[in-house]
Structure formats: structure tokens, C-alpha cells
């Protein structure tokens, strides 16, 4: 790919240096497009699912089934006046949405969407994901502080407290994955989940070697913590619209608000992808082999085409699993009321943290015996 790209530049008569400089940017352009598409779909999905669960119809005016509602909303937000109240700290106020948004965009680059579709394949990818996702909290605190609004400040402080308490069980739950896979590379973690339970016809399905089986408690802890991480009900204290009048983003409008909004939904998607990658076998199909390969291998003998088919299927599995996880998150949102700040803390420290340690022990024992058995 790299060579082709440079060749195109050479043929057009543009210096190779320019090609070399622009080459790393290309994945990010793809990521940005992907991100916006995902968010547009996600917002619509959330509204539709919520409407569906609350016996309503949801958006259905703009385009068929309201497909273009989100786009219309986005255009509206872009056209809106950018209001900044008098005594805000202008630099930080402007910087905060970017700080929230940028790390999430980088995390997208780290995600293995298929076997080859990984923008940045790092050896310590998992580590970087959590390092980056913590930065968004800084942005939220900054937004809360710079807004010069007491509600926003409270929202920002709550967000900080929440992030500190929930990141610890989150990371310990992830530690068990590192133990199981023996690596921090996200692609390798996915590959380690292939193979199944044994060689038999049914037990060789990939489902049986997904991390969720040994680390089920870890999955639950991770799921709860990731909901808290992306500030959704029942852990949406930083925004809590009935208490803090939408908290840290009270004072934001127009494009800056849109960035927060985008970041929130993008974070929700990325957390779901992460759950799928770590616990539900990522892009792997739940069966022993890829369906497209089994179906078409007798018809199509061109390995390249089969390879492309396989990639498409991998993408399909990842997206399907991710949207299933997102559906559950939305479903939870429709059911549960909000926790109180101190209850949230005690839930994290007194319940989730011990649970994640229990999970780590179980996984370690499991790993020890499975290596013993496999020699």
C-alpha cells in the first residue's frame, strides 16, 4: 500500500518527501470519517431504541425513518452561535472540548477492527488505550472549571472523582485479560481468543475460548466500569440533567458542544468495541471458521477475493457484537435511575474493587492450570 501511494505521488510529480509526510495522516482521515459515521448512526440508534422501549416512534420526520435526523441536528449545531459567557477562562474553555475529543480519536486508531484494519498496531496498545481515555477526564474537569458556572464545576469535580474510583477496578479487570493473553497488543489479544475449547466439531468454536468464560466476573466489572467511564446512566453524575442541569457542558453551545457530544458517543462506541475486543473475541466469528470462507471456498478459488470476504466478515462480526453491547447499554439507560455520588464511590471501592481482585485470582489460577494441561 505504501509503495503504491508513493508511486501515485511520483507520477503526479509531487516530491516524495510530501508523500512520506502525508502517509501517516491517511489512517487518521479514515478514522475520522469512521468516527463521524459511527456517531451519526449511534445517536439515531439510541433515539430509536429508547423510543421503541418507551412505546414511542422516535425521529421519523427527516428522511426515511428519520435517518437524516442526526445530520440535521449536526448542521443545526454547526450553525449555532458560539456563546461564551463573560468571565470564562477563554483559552481553557476553548481547549476543553478538544482535550476531550482528541484522545478518543486516537483510541479509534488503536482498535483492531479487522485482522489488518488497525491504524496503529502497538505492542502496548491496551496500555495506551487506558492512558488516553483518562485524559478525557482532564478535559471534563477543565470544562467544568473554565465555564465559571457552579453547576459545571460540581459536574467537573464529580467527573474527576468518578474517573479515579472507576479506573482502578477497570484496569484490574483488564489485567486479567493481559494474564490470559500474555500480551498487551490488542490484535494479539483477539488472536489469543481463537481456537476453541478442544479439537471436537462443536467445541472448536471460537466462542469457547473467548475471555468472557474464564473472566466472567471481570467482564461484569469491566462492563459496569466502562458505563461509568463514558458517563452514562446510572453513572451519569457529571451531567445529571435533573441535578446539575447537564453539568460540565451547561455553558457550551454550538460547535464546542457538538465536540462534547461527539466525544461522548464516540467514547461509548469505543468502550463497546473494547469490551468486544477484550472479552467477546473481537472480530472473530463465534464459529470455528469464517462463514464466508466455508461458503465460498468451493466456488471461488481466488485466495485474494476470499481474503477480502474474510475481512468484510470480520468487520461484520465486530460491528454486530459492538452494537449488541451498545443495545444493552441503552437498555440499561432506559431502566435504571441515577446513583448518588457517595453511593457511586462506595460501590466502586467496596464492591467492584474486591470483585475485580477476585476475578484476577480466578483468572490467574485458570491460566496456571491451562498452561499445565497444555504442557
Amino acid at each position: 500500500m505504501h509503495d503504491i501511494y508513493i508511486e501515485i505521488f511520483n507520477k503526479l510529480g509531487i516530491p516524495t518527501v510530501l508523500a512520506e509526510i502525508t502517509w501517516p495522516v491517511i489512517p487518521f482521515i479514515f478514522v475520522a470519517i469512521l468516527l463521524i459515521l459511527v456517531v451519526i448512526f449511534l445517536v439515531l440508534m439510541e433515539r430509536k431504541v429508547l423510543a421503541w422501549l418507551t412505546v414511542r416512534k422516535g425521529p421519523n420526520r427527516v428522511g426515511p425513518f428519520g435517518f437524516f435526523q442526526t445530520i440535521a441536528d449536526a448542521i443545526k449545531l454547526l450553525c449555532k452561535e458560539d456563546i461564551m459567557s463573560k468571565d470564562t477562562n477563554k483559552i481553557l474553555f476553548t481547549l476543553a472540548p478538544m482535550i476531550v475529543f482528541a484522545p478518543i480519536m486516537i483510541i479509534y486508531g488503536l482498535m483492531p477492527f479487522t485482522e489488518k484494519f488497525v491504524a496503529i498496531n502497538l505492542a502496548a496498545g491496551l496500555f495506551l488505550v487506558f492512558a488516553l481515555s483518562s485524559i478525557t477526564t482532564v478535559g471534563i474537569v477543565l470544562a467544568g472549571w473554565a465555564s465559571n458556572n457552579k453547576y459545571s464545576l460540581l459536574g467537573g469535580m464529580r467527573s474527576a472523582a468518578q474517573a479515579i474510583s472507576y479506573e482502578i477496578p477497570l484496569v484490574i479487570a483488564v489485567l486479567s485479560i493481559a494474564v490470559l493473553a500474555g500480551t498487551l497488543n490488542l490484535s494479539d489479544i483477539v488472536i489469543a481468543q481463537a481456537g476453541g475449547f478442544s479439537d471436537g466439531a462443536f467445541f472448536s468454536w471460537n466462542v469457547f475460548s473467548w475471555n468472557i468464560i474464564p473472566a466472567f466476573i471481570g467482564f461484569v466489572v469491566f462492563f459496569i466500569c466502562s458505563i461509568a467511564e463514558v458517563n452514562r446512566i446510572p453513572f451519569d453524575l457529571p451531567e445529571a440533567e435533573s441535578e446539575l442541569v447537564s453539568g460540565y457542558n451547561t455553558e457550551y453551545s454550538g460547535m464546542k458542544f457538538a465536540l462534547f457530544f461527539l466525544a461522548e458517543y464516540a467514547a461509548m462506541f469505543i468502550m463497546s468495541v473494547l469490551i468486544v475486543t477484550l472479552f467477546l473475541g473481537g472480530y472473530l466469528s463465534p464459529f470455528s471458521d469464517y462463514l464466508s470462507v466455508t461458503l465460498f471456498q468451493n466456488i471461488i478459488h481466488n485466495q485474494n477475493i476470499l481474503y477480502i470476504f474474510m475481512h468484510i466478515e470480520q468487520g461484520f462480526w465486530l460491528i454486530a457484537k459492538t452494537y449488541f453491547v451498545i443495545f444493552i447499554i441503552i437498555w440499561i439507560r432506559a431502566t435504571l435511575p441515577r446513583l448518588r455520588a457517595d453511593q457511586l464511590m462506595s460501590f466502586a471501592w467496596k464492591f467492584l474493587l474486591p470483585l475485580s481482585l477476585v476475578n484476577l485470582t480466578i483468572v490467574a489460577v485458570f491460566k496456571y492450570f491451562s498452561t499445565l494441561m497444555n504442557g
Binding site: 418507551t54 414511542r56 435533573s242 432506559a334 435504571l336 448518588r340
Partner: protein
């Protein structure tokens, strides 16, 4: 020194007048230390419409539609309070059928009001979905009201000495059907909410209203029953035809937000039972039957089963221009969804009331708020304030 002063800094936060969970336009000036509430000052009066003063420049019939606006969520109750007051000054007798229609509409109104409270309360706690379900049921009842009175909220249906119109045809069947389906809906809300661990964490032991405090602040209605004081005007001082109906009052023990929730849910179920009984016992039966029977009977006797006084709608037709109740003053009390509504009317013998005074239950509940949330977390404001069921137009009048 500098650090100390920074640490001890209290923050004054202005909740409202426009805030999602103040149920209207209440302003709370709160002193917070961190997220702990140190002090609260409720500021009321943003919704003051001068309903008491307006009465003095309008005759009784002109004032009647305005009474509905005292509390827009339980219009029938305010209307009833005023009508009972004027009736007892003027010595008007109300026919039994009219009383039964009043009772049925009031109990339906109690359910709509409690459903509205439920949605607001849960919305404050962050649960959005039950709101849509509760509004769906509320819509069914409101449809019935629309069919009966012609309006969905401001009914203006009661008049001095009775009600303005008879039940429309087919109304009673619809009401019976609704009464049958409603307990199932309440079961559904309870499945979603009542035992939900987060809901229990948020409301149990929060905002405990002791019996003494409740009595001191003159709290009435479901709030005081949640604290275990058996005070229900429908039982202790039956107005209308409540003495002919068999029902229970529901009490709870602890007086926390959860108990107030439980009492209100139980009250809704009890209201359904009251309506079912009333629909069976109503003199004259269905309007279709009554019409046929009264035409056939035509005896015009006072105690006739089909055309006597008891099946009339209005005891005595009054002319708005010449209706002048005798000199006197009277208090009437009604057990409204939020507590006891008291209407005090002074008549000086002219066609305009000399003075009308409203004593509304939410006014007392708002006064209680600072005491209940002192020293609590800011997030506790919502379960406590929500469970008190305050409606601001009622506070300000």
C-alpha cells in the same frame, strides 16, 4: 491561613427558578460545602397570580373557572373545595348523583395527579422510561375527563349545588374498563421501580419526616401518612359520599422518601377500588338507563328513584346575575392528592365574595424542605423534594 480559608469556603448555589427538578418555578438559595447542603432558603412567589384577590372583584360564577388554576394537576379538588364552601353558605343541597359524579372524577383526578408526581419524581432520579408509561395511563384518564367536561386540564365542571353535565353515554363502561386495566399498569411500574436496588438506595432512609416534625409543620396528605399518622379527611371527616364507600387508608412507618412513594402507589390502587365501588353504587345507574327510566316514570316526586332529587345533577338552578349567598363565613376542607386543601369564603351578602382564602398543602411541604435536606448531599435534594410532591402554582396561588 490562605489554605484554611480556601478549604472552608462555602458556595452559594441558586437552584431555580428555572431548574429541571424544581417542578415549576421554585428558587432555592443553597449554601453548599462541597456537595453537602448547609442551608437552604426557598424563595417562592414566581407563579403568583393573585387568585385570592381576583375573587373579590368577580362574582361567584365568574370566579369558578379560576379556582381550577389553584392547582392545575388536581383541578377537581380545588373546584370541589370552593363549591362545598359556597354551598354551605348558601345552604344548597347537592343531589346524590352529583356527589357520586364528583367523587368519581375526584378519585380519577387523584390518580392522574399521583401519576404525574410519579413521573416527575422518577425523572428527577434519572429514570426516564416510567415517565412515558405513566403518561400513557394518564392520557387515558384525561381522555375520559375530556369526554365528560370538554377540557383536558381546566375542567370547570362543578357548579354550586352539583355538576354541570351528566356522564356522557358509554362513559361508565369506559371507566370500568380502565379500572380493570389500571392495576396491571401499576404492577408494571412497581416491577420497574419498587424493588430496584438503586432506587431503594436513593430513597430509603433519605428525608425522614418524623411524626412530630410533620405535625409541627402542618403537613397533610400522603406525606403525613408516610410518617405513620392516620390522617385522611375522607375517613375522619367524610365529605361528599365517602362514608358510603368502603376503603382503607394506607400508612407507612419510617417517613422516608421510599415510604411516601409506597403510600402514593397504594393510594392509586385504593382510588381504583373507590371508583369501581362508586360506579356500581351511583344512583340512577348509567345515563342511558336513567334517561329512559325518567321519561317513562315522569312522576316528578322528590323521592322517586328515577326522577327525584337524588338523581338530579344540580339541586337548584342558579342565575349567575342574582346569586347572592347570605352573609356568613365558612371553611371547607378537601383531601386533595397533595394534602388538605382548605377554602375559606366570607360572604357579605353581595354577588361577590368578600374574601376567599386558600390554604394549600404544598405550601407547608415547601417550608419543610430546608429542614429535611440540611446536612444531606446535594443529590438528595431530588428524592426528598420529589417525594414531597410540591406543585408550585399551589404554593403561590
Amino acid at each position: 491561613m490562605a489554605l484554611e480559608s480556601t478549604l472552608n469556603k462555602e458556595m452559594i448555589i441558586n437552584v431555580g427558578p428555572q431548574h429541571p427538578s424544581t417542578h415549576g418555578v421554585l428558587r432555592l438559595v443553597m449554601t453548599l460545602e462541597g456537595e453537602i447542603i448547609k442551608d437552604t432558603k426557598p424563595v417562592i412567589g414566581y407563579l403568583h397570580r393573585g387568585l385570592e384577590k381576583l375573587a373579590e372583584s368577580r362574582n361567584y360564577f365568574q370566579y369558578l373557572p379560576m379556582v381550577d388554576r389553584v392547582d392545575y394537576l388536581s383541578s377537581f379538588f380545588c373546584s370541589a373545595a370552593f363549591c362545598y364552601a359556597v354551598e354551605s353558605i348558601a345552604g344548597l343541597k347537592v343531589p346524590k348523583r352529583a356527589e357520586y359524579i364528583r367523587l368519581i372524577t375526584m378519585e380519577f383526578n387523584r390518580i392522574t395527579s399521583h401519576l404525574m408526581w410519579l413521573t416527575a419524581f422518577l425523572l428527577d432520579l434519572g429514570a426516564t422510561t416510567p415517565m412515558f408509561y405513566a403518561f400513557r395511563e394518564r392520557e387515558d384518564i384525561v381522555k375520559l375527563f375530556e369526554e365528560l367536561t370538554g377540557q383536558r386540564m381546566m375542567y370547570n365542571f362543578y357548579t354550586f349545588g352539583g355538576v354541570k353535565k351528566d356522564l356522557p353515554e358509554g362513559w361508565m363502561t369506559k371507566a370500568v374498563d380502565l379500572c380493570k386495566s389500571m392495576p396491571k399498569m401499576f404492577d408494571e411500574y412497581e416491577a420497574i421501580i419498587t424493588k430496584n436496588p438503586i432506587f431503594m438506595e436513593r430513597t430509603k432512609g433519605v428525608g425522614v419526616l418524623t411524626q412530630k416534625m410533620a405535625a409541627d409543620y402542618a403537613i397533610t396528605g400522603a406525606n403525613i401518612r408516610g410518617s405513620g399518622i392516620d390522617f385522611d379527611l375522607r375517613k375522619t371527616n367524610p365529605y361528599s359520599v365517602y362514608d358510603e364507600i368502603d376503603f382503607k387508608t394506607h400508612l407507612a412507618e419510617n417517613g422516608d422518601s421510599y415510604d411516601r412513594y409506597m403510600v402514593r402507589i397504594a393510594e392509586m390502587r385504593e382510588s381504583v377500588k373507590i371508583i369501581e365501588q362508586a360506579l356500581k353504587q351511583i344512583p340512577g345507574g348509567t345515563p342511558e338507563r336513567l334517561k329512559v327510566k325518567s321519561v317513562n316514570c315522569g312522576c316528578k316526586k322528590e323521592d322517586c328513584e328515577f326522577c327525584g332529587f337524588d338523581v338530579q345533577l344540580v339541586g337548584k338552578k342558579l342565575n349567575a346575575a342574582v346569586f347572592k349567598p347570605p352573609v356568613g363565613e365558612v371553611i371547607s376542607m378537601i383531601e386533595a392528592p397533595r394534602g388538605v386543601i382548605t377554602c375559606y369564603v366570607v360572604s357579605d351578602g353581595t354577588n361577590k365574595p368578600y374574601r376567599v382564602k386558600w390554604r394549600t398543602p404544598s405550601f407547608s411541604s415547601v417550608q419543610l424542605l430546608p429542614e429535611l435536606i440540611k446536612g444531606k448531599n446535594y443529590s438528595d435534594l431530588m428524592p426528598i423534594f420529589g417525594s414531597l410532591d410540591v406543585v408550585l402554582p399551589e404554593v403561590d396561588r
